[in-house]
Every structure is written in structure tokens, then in C-alpha cells.
């Protein structure tokens, strides 16, 4: 879907072509591997992954239209050792992909926005404001074939 904001940036700003986030080589036990364990009170939407095929991306959310992505992350429901991935496509272009080797329940990378904490406990979170003009796609992947063992977290709005 095309709209005028796609060409002039509109009130929500120009969509990014790339998002440059953490450059840490995150692994289980590193400080970059946050524990994502929100409650419903956090106002972050979440969904279990359903069936995942090893090393194959699955789309969690696809929006056709304009809006703003505020937060996204992926975490594990158990402590099995695996690599998890999340990528974000804005207007059909991949703007960020983040992966992490994890081995604890609730561990995983934050991809958009950030968490504030001491590495073991979350004490706060921040939202980013990533505009999209025509489409948004959030996708996750695991190094294992598994069902409902990953959870995607996100918050977005449409305009």
C-alpha cells in the first residue's frame, strides 16, 4: 500500500534503512543476554512461536500499512541450549537481525528498544520509535526444530 508519507517521511519520520544496535557477541551468560520475563502489566504483546523448523525463519507479525515499531525481542521458554534469532523488515527491507546463543529460560536478545537492568534482573525498559511506511515484518528463528519454546515480544502502532 502506498501513501504520501512513504515519500515525504510524514509525521512519523523516515523509515530506517538499517538499525545499528548492540555489537556485543552475545552468548549465554554474557551481559548482553538479558532475561526477558515480563508480566502482562508491562504492556508488551507476546506470542509463542508455534512449530519452528531448525534454522528457518517464521513470521510472527506482518503489517501492511504504515505505523511505528516500539519494541521487539525474543526469548526462550526453557533452558535448552540453542541459538535464537530475530529480524525486522521495514518496507520490505531487512533493517536488523540479531542472534544470541542462550542456555537459560527467559534469555534472549532485545532487538528494538532496550532493557535496563543489572544483567539478571530487569528494572526498566525503553521504547524506540521505528517508523514504517508500507509494511512491517517480525520474524524469529531457532537453531532447533521445536514448538512453542520461543516467545516473541513486541509493541507497535499503526497510523
Amino acid at each position: 500500500m502506498s501513501n504520501i508519507m512513504q515519500f515525504v517521511g510524514g509525521v512519523i519520520g523516515l523509515p530506517p534503512t538499517a538499525i545499528i544496535g548492540s555489537n556485543e557477541t552475545a552468548s549465554a551468560g554474557s551481559w548482553a543476554a538479558g532475561f526477558i520475563n515480563f508480566t502482562g502489566a508491562s504492556n508488551i504483546r507476546s506470542t509463542l512461536s508455534g512449530a519452528l523448523t531448525a534454522n528457518t525463519y517464521k513470521e510472527i507479525l506482518a503489517v501492511t500499512g504504515a505505523g511505528v515499531l516500539n519494541f521487539s525481542a525474543v526469548s526462550a521458554e526453557d533452558s535448552t541450549a540453542r541459538s535464537v534469532y530475530m529480524k525486522v523488515l521495514i518496507d520490505g527491507v531487512q533493517v536488523i537481525e540479531r542472534s544470541m546463543s542462550i542456555g537459560a529460560q527467559h534469555q534472549g536478545p532485545v532487538v528494538i528498544g532496550s532493557l535496563i537492568g543489572d544483567g539478571t534482573n530487569i528494572s526498566g525498559m525503553t521504547f524506540d520509535q521505528i517508523p514504517y511506511s508500507a509494511s512491517l515484518s517480525l520474524q524469529i528463528k531457532s537453531s532447533l526444530t521445536e514448538t512453542d519454546k520461543l516467545r516473541a515480544w513486541y509493541h507497535y502502532r499503526t497510523v
Binding site: M1, G29, W31, F35, N37, F38, T39, G40, S46, T47, L48, S49, G50, K58, E59, I60, L61, A62, V63, T64, G65, A66, G67, E77, A104, Q105, H106, D118, G119, T120, N121, D148, R151, A152, T158
Partner: protein
């Protein structure tokens, strides 16, 4: 606004033409970390402190954990 279910996805069409296709497997609210989570995380915390060369902090964290475990044991 119109919503239809398409397999494991929920597809919502808003009045302005926006189409939202979203995996529809809401999970129950995450539980508070369990006691064993706390122990695992605290041990990791001590290990990282040690890795960063902060032995004093690592010792402090381990001592706090051990005190808590003793308290739980005596309850």
C-alpha cells in the same frame, strides 16, 4: 475492522486499509522468576563479577546467596 482466523494467524483489516497478520498463540503472562531461577541468576552474577576481576563483589554475592539458602533451609 474485520478479523478472520487463517490457520495459526489472526488477520485483522482496519478501516484505513491496514492489514495485520499476527501469529495467534498468546502465552499466559510470564511467571515471576522461581527460586531456582534466582539461584541460577545469582550464581551467574557472581561468575561474571569474577570474570570482570571484581572478586570482592563475587564473594559478596555468593555470601548473600549462601545466607539466603541457609535461611530457607532453617525455615
Amino acid at each position: 475492522m474485520q478479523t478472520v482466523i487463517d490457520g495459526e494467524y489472526m488477520v485483522t483489516t482496519l478501516d484505513n486499509g491496514t492489514v495485520i497478520r499476527e501469529l495467534n498463540r498468546p502465552a499466559p503472562a510470564a511467571e515471576a522468576p522461581s527460586e531456582s531461577d534466582y539461584v541460577t541468576r545469582t550464581k551467574l552474577k557472581a561468575k561474571y563479577a569474577e570474570r570482570r576481576g571484581n572478586d570482592a563483589l563475587a564473594m559478596q554475592i555468593r555470601s548473600r546467596l549462601s545466607k539466603k539458602e541457609n535461611q530457607n533451609g532453617s525455615n
